[in-house]
Amino acid sequence: MPFSSLSDIQNRLNSGKTTAVEVAQLYLDRIAAFNHTLNAFVHIDPAHVLAQAEASDAYRANHNARPLEGLPIAVKDIFCTQDGPTQCCSNILKDFHAPYDAHVITKLKEAGAVLVGKTNMDEFAMGSSNETSAFGPCRNPWDTDRIPGGSSGGSAAAVAAALTPAALGTDTGGSIRQPAALTGITGLKPTYGRVSRRGIIAFASSLDQAGPMTRTVRDTAMITAAIAGHDSRDATSVADAPELDWLAACESRDMKGLKIGKPKEYFVDGMDAEVRAAVEAALAKCQELGAEIIDISLPHTEAAVAVYYVIAPSEASANLSRYDSVRFGHRCDNPEDLLDMYSRSRDEGFGSEVKRRILTGAFALSSGYYDAYYLKAQQVRTLIQQDFTQAFEQVDVIATPTSPIPAFKLGEKTDDPLTMYLSDIFTIAVNLAGLPGLSQPCGFASDLPVGLQWVGPAWREDVILSAAAAYEGATDWNSRTPTTFGGES
């Protein structure tokens, strides 16, 4: 039961075999048992969880069940919620309580979901290992000496260890897909503009997108269906985005005629050999299922990390200016004057990786450097987008490894930011191009999960959901679970 998919739990609830309260209690018990090991949750209020579950059961007794009725979903600490603190795993927002729900939180509530708690993350989503969290690192359920990936590491670990059947993450450069890959679960980053960003604490506004992290492809579709859609209070949420039949897209059982692009830039020397072998095997499986594998090139891939680490910090440097201790958030003791208040509050409140990115961004935007860095990065970003546009004239979908390496050990890369940045090498270009991307488990490397990444054209999440569902149906990687946490790997 704990490792059930959302769909399975929904069936059991619909048939009256269980109640939302029972389900909630099951996961609360698991959180109580395992969270101290994993540190996946940074805030949990069991009474409030049970109250939501009771309300859901009561609703079900009198109405038709809503799309996510009674289903537990955890959310990353980056989503503002009226209930409980929203701290973005940063000391600068310690004990901050948002007086509003993020748009997607409202959507989840309207769909009947039971919000389980706030999950751990890299501070302000800046990191690839969950080690920059002000609340301490989160651990990978497959090997607790290892990182779960990041920045949505808490959501990934919580789903992988079945402390919740599903969670929300956000993805700015791979923050849903990379931890999903490293913990053996499924995660979807929708097309930029598909999901409202309102009430999600901004890291890099032109890249951030929220999405689900689940045990199955169909579960990602269920949640995306609930949270997607235009929000008139987010000007970047697209009003006339093509609507999809999310669940129907997951019914596919084969890949007949599907043209899968295999970009040579994503199968390179230096990547883990077992990771590569697992992904190559996955593509062979797809071929078996009727797909045509086509070698393609995305020539500007190499520049993606550099472009990202100009654009994302630039936007972040402005986005994080509001944490100035004037209206909310941490303020230093006894400031001497305004400048002292600003500098000491921010120095005390932000961790070193956040400071590094603010400084990088402020530098890239500064007078005399703007053209060489920010402007140039935007120009190369356009080239990266064009790479994908051209590729999708040739293929329906692109398949790559999600991460070049499996989960690494805690502390292994913390002293070397550049190596850390390279762990997002295969996910970043997708954000720069604003495209939908999904990671699903496709095998193991040294007993650690490996992720297969699907990338589709803008607004065609249905294409990647279909491919991923067909692959999932023909394999059993998504049903492997870490034994330490009661799984049956």
Binding site: C80, T86, C88, L93, F96, A98, P99, Y100, A102, R197, R198, G199, I200, I201, A202, A204, S205, S206, S232, R233, D234, A235, T236, S314, E315, S317, A318, L320, S321, R322, D324, V326, R327, F328, L338, Y342, A362, L365, S366, S367, Y370, Y374
Partner: protein, 477 residues
């Protein structure tokens, strides 16, 4: 050798939209601090801006009114700086591609001609909140009601060559904005604020180093500040020094300016495209529709008043200073259509003069257009003399009594009966035999004396035209 003054102006004008530029909060002035705020204009985490379409239309309208080019695609940028009344730590503005570019304003010159002053651009941005330091000990208070109020910044070319030209430009712009209805432009409320870039040079030489006079909100202070700055710069250069590029603040109490920050200390605003707002696209049809709805502009109205009502250019100018004044005049004409020029004289000279003395504006006038029209009717039908009518108007300012009642009560009804007038004339002639003799001996100038005496004897009620006519007759002897 003489000096040439070069001035460019930046005007920040609050648009009078109901709601703020990027959220739904009210823009009403003067509310309790921090009562007109929401998570968006407080810069709370995760909150996003959504552009106010009315602010866009008003900025476009202003651009069209100065014959500017409207960019069908413009962009928003972030202007980064830290200040406690700037909640997000950046101001959303338009830097690289503003919505309005080019355009001009014509100002009248002393020789009766016009001088064309260029407008570089108008861009949209949001206002900051207000910091309050006065009367507080070791703390400052922040009021964010103003945070996010929509502004347009109107940037001129460096085309003005004197403080007077700068003021003329500002007054034209101020009047235009009020006519367009895009801003209340109340300077005391900070709805129309001006920064002036000032430099001096020898005629024909390149521009000198400029200083920026910040944030002035009265025409008088702006004129004083520019004149002060011109003299300061000339003195520096003539003493062999060099003007330092800096921002300066005008102290209206001490009537002097002081340095705020030098170029070296100047902010690097690190402008970059605002990723939360897509490019602003407007269609040519939208622009055309806004153009079609353009109200009558001051110049057009002035010209119409001259032609339609036969007014002098001076009267037309006075009566078109504001839309309220013009509307008042037109309602007066509607109530007293017989003589639009009489309407203009009485409104411009008598009514506005009296209101001015009591510090009231037209909206507060105790005499409505309809009441004033009844007095003008009595002048028209010779029931009251123009001179006596001024006394009647004085009384009307003080009470609600009708013009007729006051004329009656004060016995000011004009005497146009020739018998009655002849009787008074005869009395005056009898009392002044020497003057009668003098007039008859050729001293024509004495006519004025007799008119005055007769008017006095009639307590101003005698019809002056008839008095003149009858005096000439009777004095012949």
């Amino acid at each position: 050798m003489s000096w040439e003054v070069v001035i460019g102006l930046e005007v920040h004008c609050q648009l009078n939209t109901d709601t703020k530029a990027f959220c739904g909060c009210s823009t009403t002035f003067g509310a309790e601090p921090n009562t007109q705020t929401c998570p968006v204009c407080l810069g709370m985490p995760g909150q996003l801006p959504v552009l106010n379409a009315v602010a866009v239309d008003k900025t476009i309208l202003t651009g069209l009114a100065i014959n500017a080019h409207i960019n069908l695609e413009s962009k928003f940028d972030r202007k980064n700086y830290f200040y406690p009344d700037l909640p997000k730590g950046y101001q959303i503005s338009q830097f690289a591609v503003p919505i309005v570019e080019g355009g001009y304003i014509d100002i009248p010159t002393k020789d009766g001609g016009e001088k064309r002053l260029g407008v570089t651009r108008i861009h949209m941005e949001e206002d900051a909140g207000k910091s309050m330091h006065e009367g507080l000990d070791a703390v400052s208070h922040i009021d964010l009601n103003r945070s996010g109020v929509p502004l347009m910044e109107i940037v001129s070319e460096p085309d003005m060559r004197s403080a007077d030209e700068a003021i003329a430009y500002l007054k034209q712009l101020h009047q235009l904005i009020r006519f367009l209805g895009v801003s209340d432009a109340d300077m005391e409320k900070g709805q129309f604020r001006c920064d002036a870039n000032v430099s001096v040079r020898r005629p024909g030489e390149p521009f000198g180093t400029r200083t920026e006079m910040k944030n002035m909100n009265s025409f008088r202070f702006i004129k004083q500040a520019i004149e002060f700055e011109v003299l300061r710069q000339i003195e520096i250069i003539e003493d062999g020094g060099a003007v330092v590029q800096e921002s300066r603040l005008w102290d209206s109490v001490k009537s002097e300016s002081r340095s705020m920050r030098s170029k070296e200390e100047a902010h690097d605003y690190r402008y970059f495209p605002e990723p939360d707002l897509p490019p602003l696209r407007v269609s040519q049809q939208d622009v055309d529709a806004i153009k079609a709805g353009m109200p009558e502009l001051p110049g057009q109205l002035r010209k119409r008043f001259e032609i339609e009502y036969g007014l002098s250019s001076y009267d037309a100018d006075v009566l078109t200073q504001t839309l309220e004044t013009a509307a008042w005049y037109e309602s007066l004409v509607a109530a007293h259509p017989a003589d639009p020029k009489r309407c203009a004289n009485w409104m411009a000279n008598e009514l506005l003069g009296r209101l001015n003395e009591t510090g009231k504006d037209l909206a507060e006038s105790p005499v409505s257009a309809a009441r004033l029209a009844t007095l003008l009717d009595r002048i028209g039908d010779n029931s009251v003399s123009g001179k006596a009518a001024k006394d009647v108007l004085d009384a009307m300012m003080e009470s609600d009594d009708s013009a007729d009642a006051i004329i009656e009560a004060k016995g000011l009804k004009q005497v146009s009966d020739s018998g009655a007038i002849d009787a008074i004339i005869k009395e005056v002639m009898a009392a002044n035999p020497a003057q009668v003799e003098g007039y008859r001996g050729g001293k024509d100038k004495l006519m004025g004396f007799f008119v005055g005496q007769v008017m006095k004897a009639s307590r101003g009620t005698a019809n002056p035209g008839m008095v003149n006519q009858r005096l000439k007759e009777l004095l012949k002897g």
